[in-house]
Amino acid sequence: MIEGIIGKKIGMTQILNEKGEALPITIIQAGPCVVVQKRVAEKDGYSCVQIGLVENRTVKGVTKAMKGHFEKHGITQPIRVLREMRIAQGGEVNEGAEFKVDFFEETKMVDVIGVTKGKGFQGVIKRHGFHGGRITHGSMFHRAPGSSGANTYPGEVKKGKKLPGHAGTARKTIKNLRVEKIIKEENLILVRGAVPGPNGGVVIVRKSDFK
């Protein structure tokens, strides 16, 4: 068994539960994924598997080198999205093995890893959650970063000081999202809450270690 599989964020909506409450959910199309290659400690320095997302569309732009890689491991269809995934403890996986959304059948909680939407160059309020100053009442301090440190001591701006800069497009893990529903026919998993990235973005869904 592996720790998780690759999926695609479809979008958010609501579902109604049997109590009549509306729950915010994200739809993720998880899998089908195929194990392309096994990496072993002796040769690669660590052990994991490389899995690929099998998409129901024509896949273009796969290089010859990658085609050779797939051929070598007996994968007939070209794959665009490849990720490495650790093997779950005490588990055994073989090349060519396929994982679908039923992988999560007994799972209550999952972690979802994705790349957040790019926000461009942002100030300190959006980027780091600073509070900013008053807008009115004579205040002349609105959204500026404020002081960057003391004077003679330390005499420098400390490394890691939160300043304006590029925000977003960062890999983020959202832990412990409740699995609300699984629709096997279409490989959909509905998780409660939001997930990083745009609709159509690639995410990794893995079983959470929440007990």
Partner: protein, 114 residues
């Protein structure tokens, strides 16, 4: 909207809701949970608005309870609504009957269509 999202939302729509419009008088069977027990409460009033569409559609039902105007909003497709009975069809010339809030007594009536 994405086709998959649309399909999922469609699958949650209820088919047992009768046809009614703003101005109609309806009786809503509301599921209430009191501690462990669950029972059905009846709420009767005039539909003064239908809002949104699909699985998010809600209705606003107004009634006069011991001299005090009460409005409740029900999500139409939610399990909170057990059943809806249409009691009377009313003639309304607009979609939102918010003007009823300003009226009381005999003026706050809606003509019935036979």
């Amino acid at each position: 909207m994405n086709a998959i999202v649309e399909k999922l939302e469609k699958s949650m729509l209820r088919t047992d809701i009768p046809v009614f419009k703003p101005g109609d008088t309806i009786k809503v069977h509301v599921r209430v949970k009191e501690g462990e027990k669950e029972r059905t409460q009846l709420y009767e009033g005039i539909v003064i608005a239908r809002r949104a569409s699909g699985m998010r559609e809600t209705i606003t039902v107004r009634r006069n309870s011991y001299g005090i105007g009460v409005e409740r909003v029900f999500p139409l497709n939610s399990a909170v609504v057990e059943k809806i009975d249409v009691l009377r069809r009313g003639r309304a010339r607009r979609a939102k009957l918010f003007f009823l809030r300003e009226l009381s007594g005999k003026k706050a009536r809606i003509k019935e269509i036979k």
